[in-house]
């Protein structure tokens, strides 16, 4: 079975300081992992994805994440926060499909990032 835990429900940083959003996963299979961002009253936007290639994944808007199998982690980082980064972030693990024709996404509970001037 697959599951994902986002370790912080809220993170607050100052503009220009680093961002770290933590995510641990559990998967019976070699996982695919994603990070999504959701701004208020908007849909989810894909930030980056890990699909068993390079363990350090670069995404949009300066975000990156590192897949660490030994720690079952997929933490999201950004060197310098911008005010526009304030949003909710979801870590997602994907279950491979064996029937039904689609791979189910399992969402974390989300981390709300606040960025202060």
């Amino acid at each position: 079975a697959q599951s994902v835990t986002q370790l912080d429900s809220h993170v607050s940083v100052s503009e220009g300081t680093p961002v770290l959003l933590r995510c641990n996963y559990s998967s019976s299979y070699s996982p695919s992992l994603f990070w999504y961002v959701q701004h208020p009253n908007k849909g989810l936007q894909l930030l980056l994805k890990y699909t068993s290639a390079a363990t350090l994944v670069k995404g949009i808007n300066g975000f990156e994440a590192e897949f660490k199998k030994s720690e079952t982690s997929f933490h999201l980082t950004k060197p310098s926060a911008h005010m526009s980064d304030a949003a909710e972030y979801f870590c997602v693990v994907s279950a491979p499909y064996f029937s039904g024709g689609y791979n189910k996404l399992i969402f974390g509970a989300g981390t709300r990032l606040a960025v202060h001037p």
Partner: protein, 117 residues
């Protein structure tokens, strides 16, 4: 490039009224399509998914139904809305992944905010 459109953006409906939310995808063919609901303070709940025209699978028994009359059109409906149907409804699409693969991310529309009075 692919785009996904959802409408309306906001909707206020009385209890007992019908509902129709529409979602269309452009720039791809034979996508998987999904409807999610995001209740306030809660995560995303997958309501329906479709792997082809006329093929609908329900994840959660409820007051809602879905239809896929065309390859890139997905409709969420209800005959009589309940107060508990309030929430943020998101449509998403994905490419079909390889069997036993979970590497296809889903791409979301901007959502419909549904309020039931």
């Amino acid at each position: 490039s692919q785009t996904i459109h959802q409408w309306p953006a906001t909707l206020v409906q009385p209890v007992g009224s019908p509902l129709s939310l529409e979602c269309t995808v452009e720039g791809t063919s034979n996508p998987n399509l999904y409807w999610y609901r995001q209740a306030a303070g809660r995560g995303l709940q997958l309501l329906f998914y479709s792997v082809g025209i006329g093929q609908i699978s329900s994840e959660v028994p409820q007051n809602l139904s879905a239809s896929r009359p065309q390859d890139r059109q997905f409709i969420l409906s209800s005959k009589k809305l309940l107060l508990s149907d309030s929430g943020f409804y998101l449509c998403a699409w994905s490419k079909k992944g390889a069997f036993r693969s979970g590497n296809q991310p889903q791409h979301f529309g901007d959502g419909t905010r549904l309020s039931i009075l």
